[in-house]
Structure formats: C-alpha cells, structure tokens
Assembly symmetry: C2
Homo-oligomer: 146 residues x 2
C-alpha cells in the first residue's frame, strides 16, 4: 500500500473525528453552563423550526440530515420537555407538523447567542475566506454523496 493512500484516509479521519465533535462538545458544555437542559441535537432541530415553524418530520429529516427514526425520537424527547408539539396535518393525515411551544420560542435568542460565542471561540485565527472554502467543500461532499 502506498503512503499516499494513508494520506487520503487521514482527511476522513480529520473531518470525522476532530472539529465537528470538538465544536459540538463545547456547545453542549456552554448550554449546560448556562443552565440549559437541551442537547445539541435537540437544538439543531429547534434551530430549523425557529427559521420556519410547523415543519413535517420528513422535512426536518431533510434539513438536519438525519433519518426518520432519529427525528422520531428527537421529537419524542422534545415533546416530553414541552418544547414542541406534534399537530396532525389537515391536508395529509400521514403528516405530523412539528410546532414550537412558547417555551421553545423563548430559548431562541439565548441559545443562538451561545452558539455564536462558541463559533467565535472555535474560529479564532480562521479568516472569512477559509470559512467560505470549508462551507463550499462540505456542500460539494454532500452533493457528491447524495
């Protein structure tokens, strides 16, 4: 096996193991320090609902890049914590519309502020151009594997 093969493998290792989990862990920690009892996975669902409320579970799958069982259980837990509510769609009885509660709406500003602080910590020494390239590369990777 050539040394080059190992080098390419290393990028996977970098992408999968390092920054995403480091950022996620730090954000989770910052939530906890602020007395917020939500997980980053729950937050990522709320984040999309803050942008547009009353999405179907399938739509949340698409936007958060998770599969259906994962969303089912995330919504289960969010419902237990009274942060969202499943509302049956009137047009299509297969569909649950996931709606924010008032409690969840109040969390928006604080958690997004914490996420921004966390990203600022994470991105010290990284310039705008580099960030754009990372986003571009990730978009390409996602499109390639879709």
């Amino acid at each position: 096996m050539s040394n080059n093969q190992f080098k390419r493998g290393e990028l996977y290792s970098v992408i999968n193991g390092m920054a995403s989990t480091a950022v996620a862990r730090r954000l989770q920690k910052n939530f906890r320090l602020a007395g917020l009892e939500i997980t980053i996975e729950q937050w990522s669902v709320l984040y999309h609902l803050w942008k547009q409320d009353a999405l179907s579970q399938q739509e949340l799958c698409n936007r958060t890049f998770r599969d259906k069982p994962s969303i089912t259980r995330l919504i289960d837990n969010l419902e237990k914590q009274k942060l969202v509510k499943r509302m049956p769609s009137k047009e299509d009885r297969r569909i649950n519309l996931v709606c924010l509660t008032e409690t969840a709406k109040l969390l928006q500003d604080k958690t997004i502020e914490l996420a921004n602080q966390t990203m600022d910590e994470a991105l010290v020494g990284v310039n705008k151009n580099e960030i754009e390239i990372v986003k571009l590369v990730f978009q390409k990777v996602y499109d390639n594997l879709l």
Copy 2:
C-alpha cells in the same frame, strides 16, 4: 437578533450535520456492501493500530478524539469480534496495550482501499488546495477548543 448571527450559526450546522456524517454513512455502506462487519468507529480505532500496534487505551483516546468510556466499549466490541486483544503492560500495571490480531491485520488493505474509494467519491470537484484549507481550519478549530 441580526441576520448575521444566523449566518454564523449556519456554519456550525454545516460542519456538524453534513459532510462528516455523509462520508461516514457512505463508508459504512461500502463496508457492508463488501461484506465487512465492522463499524466506521471500530475501523477508526483499527486505523490507528495499523499505523502503530500495541497502543494504550489512553493513547487511542488521544488519537481518535474519543473519551475513555467510548474507547473502553469500542475495544470491548473489537475484542468480541476477535480483532484486538488487551495485553497488560509490564511497565505499568494500570495500562492495557491494545494489540491487533492476525484477522485484523488482514483487514487493513481492503478497508483502506474502500476508505480511499469513498473519499474519492466524496471529493469529486474539490481541489488539493481546498482540502489543505479544510484540514488547516479543522486543526485550528480543534486547537482553539482544546
């Protein structure tokens, strides 16, 4: 809240939700299609052992960016599948050296070839310079949050 805050949050969402899981899922699928029964997490441990055998669990934590309980259980599962073996260190009786079995050594070439194919699929249209920037950014992010 300013629109700019949402934009910064979006990068987190991109980093955490998109490429890493898309790549991981595709690699897992490719393992399965090839009849390999290992998970990508197990593979990431084996990957470091192929580079250097007989590492302590703590050293595997550092290299795979996982915490100690995660490594304990990954090693448990790898041991069940007879891919590694815990060997007590003679210098320090607290330490387990994790050693590859012959079976695991045979998996190296095939799985790394699959990982390379997967990365090639994922990185269509991404040039070397962009890859270098992604690696650099992730290294900076990791160092910032350490």
